[in-house]
């Protein structure tokens, strides 16, 4: 398998206390306190690859850094540290503003969460889909019109709808415009940020099947960000589970959801409502996640909320370790691995 995108030790920090809190900063400087501002560790030393033609799911609760990671790898924001390689080319060093006009910009495209909010309300569907073609591929005139209509019909949008504005379309139609806009420039990697979160189940099915079909037709790789595990299970080959800026578990989607190894993944899977089962599995997470501001690098991020929370967990943060085709960041991974692998135990 060929590697399409390779992330190594990617981090993104946001300083806090700048901006509105200038006075506090000034006072601290006067009193000879530390100059350094505290930082939010939104993404902390994350490494993974996306292969050609692969669908990778990224799951985790809100505030875990999914969106920041996605913005970093689509090069909408600059990273604080680490390397992002698209094929052989290093992208992390290019400022986001410069990358916006880069020749490789078209190779990574994104479908945003709420198509209603991410389409310019003053653009018709045609303009929305034509915009990236004009800017990134410099297509004009008849060729532009043909390309927009071809992409629209590929996404199941009748050409009569192309003259409509976002508010004149249904949620499903807007989702199709969002997808058509992203695939118009023939990207290699399509990043989908909760593309069906705002849709009803009946429409969601159609959009998911459309995405599956487009992938077969165009041979793109997908990075599918979602908190809906049942959708990730159906669509994705591999899944990454994120918690407070770190990847805590990764592996084949089906295996991870059937036998989660990390305690966080276990709680996540247990929390997904299922048909037929009463909510008997009382594996519940207590309290709130730890603070992402200057976290202690020697404490496991899940410590305190984790049902294990052993003394080891607060003196030594677990690294992401490999078990076959899966990775888990937990000191107690072996117990789960052995327990789950050997039948009857």
């Amino acid at each position: 398998m060929t590697v399409l995108l390779d992330l190594e030790h990617v981090s993104k920090f946001f300083p806090v206390g700048a901006g509105p809190n200038q006075l506090a900063r000034f006072k601290r400087r006067l009193s000879g306190g530390p100059e350094r501002l505290p930082k939010i560790y939104a993404v902390d030393n994350v490494s993974f690859v996306i292969n050609k033609g692969e669908t990778v799911g990224l799951v985790g609760e809100s505030g875990c850094g999914k969106s920041t990671l996605v913005r970093a790898l689509t090069r909408l924001v600059d990273v604080s540290d680490g390397s992002i390689k698209l094929g052989a080319r290093e992208l992390a060093l290019k400022p986001a503003r410069v990358f916006a006009r880069d020749r490789d910009r078209a190779r990574i495209q994104m479908v945003f969460q709420d198509a209603g909010d991410s389409i310019n309300p003053r653009f018709t569907a045609f303009d929305a889909i034509a915009d990236p073609l004009r800017r990134l591929r410099h297509v004009r005139g008849k060729a532009l019109k043909d390309r927009v209509e071809a992409v629209a019909s590929q996404c199941g949008l009748p050409s009569a709808l192309l003259s409509r504005f976002p508010h004149q379309m249904s949620g499903g139609q807007r989702a199709r415009v969002g997808i058509a806009r992203a695939i118009a420039v023939k990207p290699d990697l399509l990043v989908l940020d909760e593309p069906t979160a705002a849709l009803d189940v009946s429409v969601q099915v159609i959009i998911l099947q459309l995405l599956q079909q487009l992938k077969h037709e165009l041979g793109m790789s997908y990075l599918f960000v979602s908190h809906d595990l049942s959708v990730v299970r159906l669509l994705c080959d591999r899944v990454l589970v994120m918690y407070l800026g770190k990847i805590v578990e990764s592996g084949p989607a089906r295996a991870v959801f059937e036998r989660p190894w990390h305690p966080y993944t276990q709680a996540l899977v247990a929390a997904v409502p299922r048909f037929g089962g009463a909510a008997t599995e009382r594996l519940r997470l207590k309290g709130e996640p730890r603070s992402p501001i200057d976290p202690d690098q020697n404490v496991c991020r899940f410590y305190g909320r984790c049902p294990i929370s052993a003394s080891d967990c607060k003196t030594r943060a677990p690294a992401l370790r490999r078990f076959g085709n899966r990775h888990v960041a937990c000191h107690f991974a072996e117990e789960f691995v052995v327990q789950r692998i050997s039948p009857g135990l």
Binding site: P273, G276, R284
Partner: protein
């Protein structure tokens, strides 16, 4: 469980007057909730779930009008009660958890005071004791460090915590009926599970009847003893949860189950529901609003909707219901 209904809704119809015509939002909606029971109203957006809740609470938009029906809460018809009478019941006997806690809470009042307000107004708590009791309510809603959090404003709290505050407010006066309108939409699954546990535990503790409104069929299947399925302002099927999933009789219920990702082993197994919701402004709406997208439509469907009773608990509004056991096996809890 006692069998006395806490609330019995009969043939509730609601219309909205809009510039582009009259929207017939609810058409003869009937269901009941027993004391201590949790039922779920499920359906896609536009099916009339929230309008039902707002109509019961007397909180309909001024453009909306109840054109027919009764909602008996004990001896009181909620739809005919005077606004003053209703204001005394709301918050005390019946309360509601709104979908988006951040917009439902008062942004310029600390959460502790908002709970204290309800205690003073509805639970007859002396205003001097209310703040302390409010802190206890926050603790009961599972908020850590409640004495400090009581002073927080909604914007300072996470979505899950705001929802806990909403729950504390809704349950402050120990109501006998709770309407929870999508209480966990927009929350993470981990938070959702905790919040739903909390509502269920408190409901059991207080012996409260709960109407739980959701679009998540799987969540409803876990949390409700009976499910009312709505489509385009009509109740299409009403059944105990197990029966509904083991044996859906209305074609729409079966389609809805087959469209839910939890039910499928892979993506190709999922089936989209053909057609669209009918435009509720039309004057020529058919008696069965599903009939235009229904694969099992027959001539009789042009007649007024039947209420076919399968057994005492299972009612389906269909002239040509699905025969027993036609649903592929995978949809029956094989997730």
């Amino acid at each position: 469980m006692t069998t006395a209904p806490a609330l019995r809704v009969q043939r509730l119809s609601v219309e909205f007057r809009t510039r582009s015509g009259i929207v017939r939002a609810l058409d003869n909606v009937s269901f009941s909730v027993r004391k201590g029971e949790t039922i779920a109203l499920v359906g896609e957006s536009g099916s009339g779930k929230s309008v039902t809740a707002y109509a019961l609470m007397g909180l309909l938009d001024p453009a909306g009008r109840v054109t027919n029906g009764r909602a008996m809460f004990g001896e009181i018809d909620l739809l005919a009660a005077s606004p003053r009478h209703l204001a005394a019941i709301r918050g005390r006997e019946i309360s509601m958890i709104f979908q988006n806690p951040r917009t439902a809470l008062n942004p310029i009042r600390s959460v502790g005071r908002q709970i204290a307000d309800v205690l003073v107004r509805h639970a007859k708590v002396p205003s001097r004791e209310a703040p302390l009791q409010a802190i206890e309510m926050l603790r009961a809603a599972g908020i850590t460090d409640p004495a400090r959090r009581a002073w927080a404003y909604p914007f300072e709290l996470s979505g899950g915590m705001c929802q806990r505050v909403m729950i504390a407010i809704a349950l402050a006066a120990k109501p006998s009926l709770l309407i929870a309108d999508e209480p966990t939409t927009g929350l993470d699954v981990t938070t959702q599970a905790v919040i739903m546990d909390l509502i269920a535990d408190l409901a059991t503790e207080l012996g409260m009847a709960t109407i739980f409104i959701t679009h998540d069929l799987a969540l409803a299947s876990q949390r409700a003893t009976r499910i009312v399925v709505m489509h385009a302002g009509q109740v299409v099927e009403h059944a105990p949860t197990e029966d509904l999933f083991a044996q859906p009789r209305h074609p729409y219920t079966a389609e809805l189950i087959a469209a839910t990702p939890d039910s499928a082993a892979n993506l190709d197994d999922l089936a989209a529901i053909p057609g669209l919701l009918p435009d509720l402004r039309r004057s020529n709406l058919p008696p069965c609003r599903y009939s235009e997208r229904c694969p099992r439509k027959i001539e009789r469907c042009a007649q007024p909707l039947p209420q076919t009773t399968i057994n005492a608990e299972h009612v389906v509004a269909c002239w040509n219901p699905l025969p027993v056991h036609t649903l592929p096996k995978r949809a029956i809890g094989a997730a």
